[in-house]
């Protein structure tokens, strides 16, 4: 009797409890059952499963993780400045999320394929994407900027959650490749000797509410696809707190789909690396999907068009700054004698060099000709496109010899309103 009835866990107070718990987690201690190895004090803790993974990280690798986090933070500062100076239309900052991104990205292997959202600049760095190319999209000269086939790092996606389904489909493709390779089918294109691969799909706590995320998890589970869902819970979807998206920790959702969900301290690069490495192994070994929720925080604004003072307290941001992912790894490296002053000075110098490179190359990012858009709309020739292009050429030729500047009348109209807001 009563076994089918919902437990008090699900009575009406649960949502308030969750909001309170989240508020506490934001302001003070992290919630229980969160994998953490390196605490804000820079001391390494123990975890029965993940310490094994962490202990494989050599001092050199740890220094590399630090250098990557510092580089991407410096890049973020530079890109924000470039946006303020009108060189970029928009910038999506990542400060605060370096450990979640560098830790997970570095845990992946070259054969793994990554589907980012639009904030994964740190992951891009770990996949050797030229960071200047990453800026093309934000400068408004490209809707991509790099060739995903070169790095196995997919294009950014602005329609939230859409890529989570692509990730699962890609993972289903990997499964088929493996079967084809095993059967020795000729011309399958699958390399029999190739290492097993997995897929990571990044998305945010806000995007977790989109139907596509649900459907992607259903598909992943139904077909046991080798995919790792990596949710960066940075606590805010623009102005909306996580409590509006979910009343349980997001990692708990995996249970409902029938695969493991792990909440990890997203500001602890060692734990993120360990958990992601475990999850990718799990997926590559054919054991199916994993959901990782990286519990982290978006320290700055959502984008350069956003004003966080309208919806959140400065104290919250301060509390999170105390959990800074770089500061805690620095403490650890220093206290263990794994890095000296010269190392940190070198990291800083490298950051300045990267920033200078970014500044230099951003100016040079070529503005395309609209003819490339005509050329790229279809893979094969299309009569309507040809007709419109011909019209455009004839029309443009009509201005030949004229001043390239806009005519006064045209200026009057375009100057009427040029709103700058949004995203």
């Amino acid at each position: 009797m009563g076994t089918h009835l919902p437990s008090t866990e699900f009575d009406g107070t649960a949502v308030d409890d969750q909001r309170e718990a989240d508020a506490e987690a934001v302001m003070g201690e992290p919630p229980a059952q969160m994998v953490q190895l390196l605490g804000p004090d820079g001391k390494l803790g123990f975890d029965p499963v993940f310490t094994d993974y962490a202990s494989k990280l050599t001092p050199e690798v740890l220094r590399g993780l630090y250098a990557d986090m510092a580089a991407i933070r410096r890049f973020d500062v530079e890109a924000t400045a470039l946006q303020r100076q009108g060189e970029l239309a928009l910038w999506v900052p990542l400060t605060g999320q370096e450990a979640a991104q560098i830790g997970s990205g570095r845990a992946s292997q070259p054969q793994d394929y990554i589907f980012p959202t639009y904030r994964e600049h740190g992951v891009a760095l770990t996949r050797n994407v030229d960071l200047a190319e990453l800026l093309r999209q934000f400068r408004g000269v490209s809707n991509g900027g790099w060739n995903p086939k070169d790095t196995n790092f997919h294009l950014y996606t602005l329609v939230l959650a859409a890529q989570t389904l692509h990730a699962v489909g890609y993972a289903m493709g990997i499964q088929r490749d493996q079967k084809l390779a095993a059967s020795g089918a000729a011309g399958s294109g699958a390399s029999a000797a190739g290492p097993d691969a997995a897929v990571i799909a990044y998305f945010g706590d806000g995007a977790s509410s989109e139907g596509d995320v649900h459907e992607s998890m259903v598909f992943a589970s139904s077909y046991n696809a080798p995919v790792v869902f990596f949710c960066q819970n940075n606590h805010w979807a623009i102005s909306v707190p996580t409590a509006v998206q979910t009343r349980v920790p997001l990692s708990n959702r995996a249970k409902g789909y029938g695969f493991p969900g792990i909440r990890v301290d997203g500001n602890d690069v060692i734990a993120v690396h360990a958990v992601t490495e475990w999850a990718l192994e799990h997926a590559r070994q054919g054991k199916g999907p994993v959901l990782i929720e990286a519990f982290t925080y978006r320290v700055g604004a959502h984008t350069t068009a956003d004003d966080p003072t309208k919806y959140r307290e400065a104290a919250e941001e301060e509390a999170w700054r105390a959990k800074d992912p770089l500061a805690r790894l620095e403490k650890y490296l220093r206290s263990e004698g794994m890095a000296d002053e010269a190392f940190f000075a070198k990291v800083k110098a490298d950051g300045d060099e990267l920033a200078a490179y970014i500044r230099r190359t951003t100016h040079d990012l070529e503005t395309p000709d609209i003819r490339t858009a005509f050329a790229n709309t279809y893979a094969e020739a299309h009569p309507l496109v040809a007709e419109e292009l011909a019209w455009f050429e004839e029309y443009s030729a009509g201005f030949a010899g004229e001043e390239p500047a806009e005519e006064p009348a045209r200026q009057a109209v375009s100057a009427q309103a040029s709103p700058k807001a949004g995203h």
């Binding site: 977790s208 979807a237 858009a373 709309t377 299309h382 029309y395 949004g422």
Partner: protein, 326 residues
């Protein structure tokens, strides 16, 4: 009369709608404390509280679908879709459900849901933030679609949309949000019927039909043509579904030439519908084929080349040259 921007006019219109109808409510992503990414709902949560101004989960299908349920229960939800390119996760609910429930229930049910969508380009934005998907919705029967081009219309049309018993999609021309103009908050005047087109400028040689963001461009083109000695009539369509063909037909019967301008791609767009109807209705009045000016058959291009994509004064004048050459 007071002067305000289109964004402010919609804000005031929503305030009036929330005050007039206690069963109306706003729903959308970031419309509460933030006041929407364009600040169109600024201050409303403070006045009406979180039950009337609802920050929703990030889920467009969820927003439209639950709005339908609320409407079935007697409420009038006004949904904000953050950007044109993000309406598509909710497209299924809009086209397969919202548009059809009245017909499917043999007229027994009404779903007076309003969907506000900032649309169009010209603001130097990134992908999915500059699209004009109105034709995709106009093709679906059961929806009404309006698009204001000035603050006075914006103020009244949003309120009329809330009062309408049918689902109404309000396409808001985002690059004109900061366009200022006079608003008569006491009376709608000619804006009484939101589905009626307005003749903004009388002329004799050709008619330009435009809507939303291109209305100021059409007016400027008509001014430029006047300097060259040509007299153009300019019509602000205001309603995309239904279209006020009577006003357009009457104008073409007078001028004999028609140019339709919109930002959306020409192919399969609203301009084609207008061209076809006017050929049917006013064939003997036409001195030239109806000429469409619009976007190209390509995904909305990157910001740095959008000037080449967006119909401007020159493109309208080029069309005028062609129309006059017949």
């Amino acid at each position: 009369m007071t002067t305000m921007t289109i964004a402010k006019a919609i804000n005031e219109g929503l305030r009036a709608a929330l005050t007039d109808n206690p069963k109306s409510l706003l729903m959308g992503e970031d419309i509460g404390a933030l006041g929407g990414v364009y600040r169109v709902t600024d201050g409303l949560i403070g006045e009406f509280g979180p039950d009337r101004v609802v920050d929703t989960p990030l889920a467009e299908s969820g927003i439209i679908g639950t709005a339908i349920g609320l409407a079935l229960r007697g409420y009038t939800p006004v949904c904000e879709i953050q950007f044109d390119g993000f309406v598509f996760p909710g497209f299924n609910q809009i086209t397969t459900q919202l548009a059809k429930i009245h017909a499917r229930s043999n007229g027994n049910l009404t779903v007076p849901v309003v969907v506000r969508i900032p649309y169009g380009g010209g603001i130097g934005s990134i992908e999915h933030h500059s699209e004009s998907p109105e034709a995709l919705f106009a093709h679906t029967a059961g929806l009404r679609i309006i698009t204001p081009s000035n603050p006075h219309d914006a103020y009244w049309m949003i309120q009329q949309a809330v009062q309408c018993q049918d689902p109404v999609i309000v396409f808001e021309p985002k690059r004109r949000y900061w366009l200022k103009g006079e608003v008569d908050v006491a009376a709608p005047g000619p804006a009484e019927d939101p589905f009626k087109a307005h003749v903004l400028r009388a002329g004799t040689e050709a008619t330009i039909v435009a809507y939303g963001p291109l209305v100021p461009v059409a007016l400027a083109a008509a001014n430029a043509a006047e300097e060259d000695g040509h007299s153009l009539e300019v019509i602000d369509l205001r309603s995309i579904s239904p279209i006020d063909f009577d006003t357009v037909t009457a104008s073409v019967q007078k001028t004999g030439r028609l140019i339709v301008a919109h930002e959306a791609p020409t192919f399969g767009g609203i301009g084609g519908e207008i061209a076809a109807r006017i050929s049917e209705r006013a064939f003997h009045s036409l001195e030239a084929p109806v000429i469409r000016v619009g976007g190209f058959h390509m995904p909305y291009p990157v910001a740095k080349v959008e000037e080449d994509y967006l119909p401007d004064i020159d493109r309208i004048l080029e069309a005028l040259d062609r129309a006059l050459s017949y």
